[in-house]
Amino acid sequence: MIEQTPRERPVNILIKAAGYSSILFVTVIFIFLMREGLPALANVKLSSLLGTVWYPIEGYFGIWPLFFGSLIVTLTAILIAIPLGVGTSLYISEIAPMWIKNLLKPLIEILAGLPSVVLGFIGIQVAVPFMRQSLNLPTGLSGLTGAILLAFIATPTIVSISEDALNTVPSAYRQAALALGATQWQTIWNITLPAARSGVITAVMLGVGRAIGETMAVMMVTGNAPVMPHGLDAIFLPVRTMTATIASEMGEVATGSPHYQVLFFIGIILFTLSLTINVIASWVSTRGRKRSERSLS
């Protein structure tokens, strides 16, 4: 224990309290979610919860269409965002000349700070009619439009975190590779990216977390129809995500009613999903670090 002067004590206590408060908040949120959501399992028949129809005002509480809606939109968004995000971060950190780098970094940070409702508005005015005409869809309010907007939301997160990870790769690695006769591409692909692997994976996982929890932009452009997907073409149809359902229905639901409890139950599912993603992200990054420490020793 380091000795504290009397003047350090209050500061120390404050910092400690701030640190512990986050644990407290997460616990309280978790308990609240469980208390409000778990009674749904007792008050709504399991066959209704596992059904394929979501129409709460008539007592249809099938969560599957919402779950698959979230899944299909998030997965597609990630498929778009990973190559875009990792590619951009590689370009900024390895290839771009200094002045482009100094221009791109703040621009991407601005993109990260863009409120999602603004993106949703642009989506509804520009992306929705464009998607319908260019892909000849019945309507542009579809899962794909939502996925593209989500990719735009997740990309800045992926870029800035994986760019940081690429920057921490010692330049001796690159110089050694180049000295051995590797081309710039071979150096990036075989040396730099694998060395920064754990940081890049963490970036991708945080991007996934950002995408799965996003509400506003998705609610504005996906059409919110609770359709049960039957194949890969479901991405071109309207979908309803779990977040959009909670956001649009929580406002007028009677406290304590089965509908209210089911909405909280959906909240528990979302909480579990993002918890899982975060646990995987931290597991991957610590495992990666251990291996690199091993190879260096």
């Binding site: 509804i124 009619p129 019945p138 309507t139 406002g251």
Partner: protein
């Protein structure tokens, strides 16, 4: 370092002082009387326009208007947090008993009427539908415009979210055709949009779309469909005249609910709403007045 904090501290002091003078001002303004008004999103614009105009009639009365939906407004009336609730549907019997359990007796006022317009894209050649055809479309039985005399295009159905009074009205009176034993629901392919503006903009841009909305929200960029209540009956366009002579089949009353034993200020306001001056605003906003407006 220590001294640098002093200006900040002074600023905070000023802020606090500012707050306290502000709060001490409002009691001196006690001559004004407040009315809390909350509920249906369909009515919120109308209620705001009335509240604004009423300022010129009775400057001392302050009316605060909020939306949130018919159910939200009635729940607030039951809980005693508002004086007047706006609703685009009649109060339910269980809501009346809940209010009576709280010692509140709701008093119903019909304040205006509203036609639900069925709208399509101006490019769509279809301009007339029967109620039964609309019901079949929203149930999912008809899914191509060809089946109702249009082009070979898929039908994209648009609706408000389930918490909207308009959604519930449309479900009961159009999808189920007023049949109380019918348990049909909207086709799961129906797009549930969070706002009236969302429906209007999608119908404006998409020739496949069909939607519905209160007549007050319909703009000239979309085409309103003439509706017949049955085969062989005439197709009627929604308007003030056709709603009042009951020939347009999907129109409803809009309500305000106050409490029995409310004070004179509220009674005066409810009476003023039925004057020609207030009902003129009803017409300006695209709703249907309930008294004759010169």
């Amino acid at each position: 370092m220590k001294w640098r904090l002093i200006p900040l501290f002074l600023c905070l002091c000023c802020l606090c002082a500012g707050c306290s003078t502000n709060s001490s001002q409002s009691p001196s303004d006690s001559a004004s009387i407040y009315i809390q008004n909350k509920g249906s999103d369909t009515i919120v614009n109308l209620a705001l326009a009335w509240a604004e105009r009423y300022q010129t009639v009775r400057p001392k009365v302050r009316i605060s208007v909020t939306g949130g939906g018919s159910g939200t407004g009635i729940t607030s009336l039951i809980n005693g947090t508002v004086d007047i609730a706006n609703a685009s549907r009649a109060i339910k019997s269980e809501e009346i008993s809940a209010a009576e359990a709280n010692g509140i007796e709701p008093v119903e006022h019909v304040i205006a009427r509203d036609a639900i317009a069925v709208i399509v894209n101006p490019e769509n050649p279809v301009s007339e539908l029967t109620l039964d055809q609309i019901s079949q479309i929203y149930r999912g039985a008809i899914s191509n415009w060809q089946e109702v005399g249009g082009e070979d295009r898929p039908i994209v159905r648009l609706s408000r979210e389930t918490n909207s009074g308009t959604h519930v009205y449309f479900l009961e009176e159009v999808v189920r055709l007023g049949n109380k034993n019918d348990k049909a629901i909207f086709s799961p392919l129906t797009l549930l949009l969070p706002s009236s503006e969302g429906i209007i903009s999608e119908v404006r841009d998409n020739p496949n779309a069909i939607g519905y909305d209160g007549l007050g929200y319909v703009t000239s960029e979309v085409k309103v469909i003439g509706i017949s209540s049955g085969l062989g009956k005439p197709y009627v366009m929604p308007s003030v005249e056709t709603v009042n002579d009951k020939s347009y089949p999907i129109a409803r009353d809009l309500y305000m609910y106050s409490k029995k034993g409310a004070n004179q200020t509220i009674l005066d306001y409810m009476q003023w709403i039925l004057t020609a001056e207030a009902q003129q605003i009803v017409r300006e906003l695209g709703f249907v007045p309930i008294v004759v407006v010169p």
